[in-house]
Symmetry: C2
Subunit: 428 residues, 2 copies
């Protein structure tokens, strides 16, 4: 595919607009505003057409003109193009007409949407000459950096808060990454990683490579639009941790619109989902505050969303208000019930963050914030196998019987037993 190098004009401060070269920088030296990748959209438009995209392999790189690497991708070549599921059974349960699940629970290699951002960040890291990369992670990013770095032959340092789920810890150590748990929460980990990236000159995907990294999330939006026939949905519900994803989904729809690829106008309302135990952004939206008040001690089973001081919290809350969307948060009980509802209606086993998204969507529908007649896309960002702890105590063990028809017949006859099995499955 054509080299996209000349399509990226540089990095631009989101506050003052000052331009910087496309290097490992993440904030403006004048006002400390975050930097964002700037593109030459006129040049992009020359090759970025529906026809050219349709002719490319089914992975996230089919949108390469709007991804900030200069040459061919060298990391994460197979990432993306996950299923957009028409979710009629869940739609019926939630009482809406047109519902879709964007299922990044099966994104590969590491089963979360983080493979999208890591594919871009590590491909860029290779271009910039980094041999050692790292990240501050609440779990999914740890596995994605570890897996993709291993495949690329890069050394990976993964820093996580102490006490993450076993699946997420094993899911990083198995790849040979140096996994270091920090006594404290994600914000402690993140601050330390900023110092490490500066001191050691390593490429931290969500620190000094963050502007490039964050652009990878746009591919989730590009895929949603392409799979909907180059249309944007009326509502998108996305989970919020650092608050970056929801903004990039919105940016994706508007970039496609700007380039003339969309059928009809883009009027998508953005809805943000958080856990009640860590709701700095939803709290900002609901109170109408002008700045995000950090949550000092996050406490939720949705550990992948447990970021008390979200880097993009301000921009996310502003975007949600500007688009006419809203934000809500839900407790652990509602999270688990929603995980089960999603699994039982659509056969999708999401991690706790997916339960947050579905539970918040249900709440927003009941509040009338999400129009029951409009089209809605729920973004599922991680896999349920990674957060088994949240269910292990709530789903009872299976009934155990002897290997005989008598035993099975007795089980079938005992409606009580069935009610129980059914109830277990239904989470009662």
């Amino acid at each position: 595919m054509p080299v996209a190098g000349e399509l990226v004009t540089g990095l631009k401060c989101r506050l003052c607009g000052k331009l910087y070269p496309k290097e490992a920088l993440n904030f403006c030296t004048d006002d400390f505003g975050p930097l964002e990748v700037a593109y030459d959209y006129e040049a992009v438009g020359r090759t970025f057409t529906r026809e050219s995209i349709a002719s490319r392999p089914k992975n996230m790189w089919r949108y390469h003109e709007l991804l900030p690497i200069d040459g061919e991708p060298t990391v994460g070549k197979h990432v993306g193009c996950t299923p957009l599921i028409r979710a009629d059974r869940l739609a019926k349960a939630l009482g809406v007409a047109e519902l879709y699940i964007k299922n990044d629970a099966v994104n590969h290699p590491s089963l979360s949407f983080k493979d999208r951002v890591v594919a871009v960040a590590l491909s860029k890291a290779v271009e910039l000459g980094f041999q050692t990369v790292g990240c501050a992670s609440t779990g999914n990013l740890a596995g994605s950096v570890a897996a993709n770095a291993a495949a690329a032959g890069l050394d990976a340092y993964v820093l996580i808060p102490d006490g993450l789920e076993q699946g997420k810890i094993l899911g990083a150590t198995i790849y040979g990454a140096k996994v270091i748990a920090i006594e404290g929460n994600y914000d402690h980990v993140n601050r330390l990683c900023s110092q490490i990236a500066f001191r050691y000159g390593w490429g931290f995907v969500n620190v000094n490579l963050r502007p490039f990294y964050a652009e990878g999330s746009k591919t989730m939006g590009f895929e949603i639009a392409e799979d909907l026939g180059w249309r944007a949905p009326e509502h998108v519900v996305a989970p919020m941790a650092g608050g970056s994803l929801i903004g990039k989904l919105h940016k994706a729809f508007h970039e496609l619109d700007r380039l003339g690829l969309m059928n009809g106008p883009v009027r998508t309302k953005m809805f943000g989902a958080q856990a009640a135990g860590c709701n700095p952004i939803s709290n900002t939206v609901k109170t109408g505050a002008n700045k995000v008040k950090p949550v000092r001690n996050p406490d939720t089973i949705a550990k992948s969303l447990a970021i008390g001081d979200p880097a993009d919290g301000f921009f996310a809350s502003k975007l949600i208000r500007d688009t006419g969307g809203w934000s809500e948060d839900v407790d652990d009980e509602a999270i688990v019930e929603a995980m089960q509802l999603l699994a039982e209606t659509e056969g999708v086993w999401a991690e706790t963050a997916g339960g947050v998204t579905v539970a918040v969507a249900r709440k927003l529908i009941e509040q009338g914030k999400i129009d029951r007649d409009g089209s809605t896309v729920l973004c599922i960002t991680g896999n349920g196998l990674k957060t088994q702890e949240a269910l292990a105590d709530r789903l009872a063990r299976p009934v155990v019987i002897k290997p005989t028809m008598e035993a099975f017949d007795a089980l079938v006859e005992s409606y009580g037993a069935f009610a129980e099995v059914g109830a277990i499955a239904a989470g009662a």
Copy 2:
């Protein structure tokens, strides 16, 4: 897509060739031989071309003319088209020139190749009017039947041997399936399911729906050939439980050849991988026996392969010998080491069965049974998140430090600590 109904002529006994109608039957009433789907290849050839296939969505149904359902698929519409990874780092470690990983660890929805067979079996179950479906499973099939039945609104009964991994049990109960553990091993479960299917008239995917079910595995072979540029590899290494997959991979290459879609001849040697703790098929191959001697008490961490009396064991061992391939088995230690090698070189975290495949491939390469210069495809069939128990004790916990640069610097300086972290990751 065109209805494929008239392309299936019926079911044919693999022993005597007697023809049966395409109904829920699985064995010949004359000699109890297994039944296999028969196609009208001339009719298939009219629409099954490289061009027509290339124009279809990227999922297993792009090969629908060679899948035994009469109408449109109603279950598992997004299944398949998993990555075929050029595995140069693993190739270097194993000392071969051209190596590929067919990564069904990320097949969806349930993260194993079983979604392929279940998509066909349940789409057929819907056509035949079954509302209640079931399976006998060693784990992956349980999750796939539960997930796909949930999405289709079917009632699912999943029978498993007692003592499976938590990830596989939760991975079935979460979808609302009725999960029943049987005191005994898989062979006890399988015998009971045969009685249940007969007594209750339910659609058991790997019992009375088995002929349709088994055909789904061919799509793994179709995808390998298409991704290799319509070529068959010189060697394929596949894990063996019941022994069906290896035969269907071979059948897929030869069906494509028969229809004139392949570049060059199909001379693929088939290699079967088993665990030393349950090796009925590899033992048959290695001893040259004429019949498969069942393993009474399987004992291996590769629980998904722990079938002591494999339904297709005879056909698998004959195929392996006829193609000039071979079979081996490996112990638990080798399985875990191979899981780590695959993860550290290619960023693929496979379940224990994947460790069996990689460890057996290494053994066969060292034995000279697999030619170091030929092209080899390793079939990875399930995800590592499902068998965490096999690693939990072997991968030590991450190093825990305070959130300070002093603590991090000390860790970096202490090569001992690093050697330890490295050693942990390297499985030493």
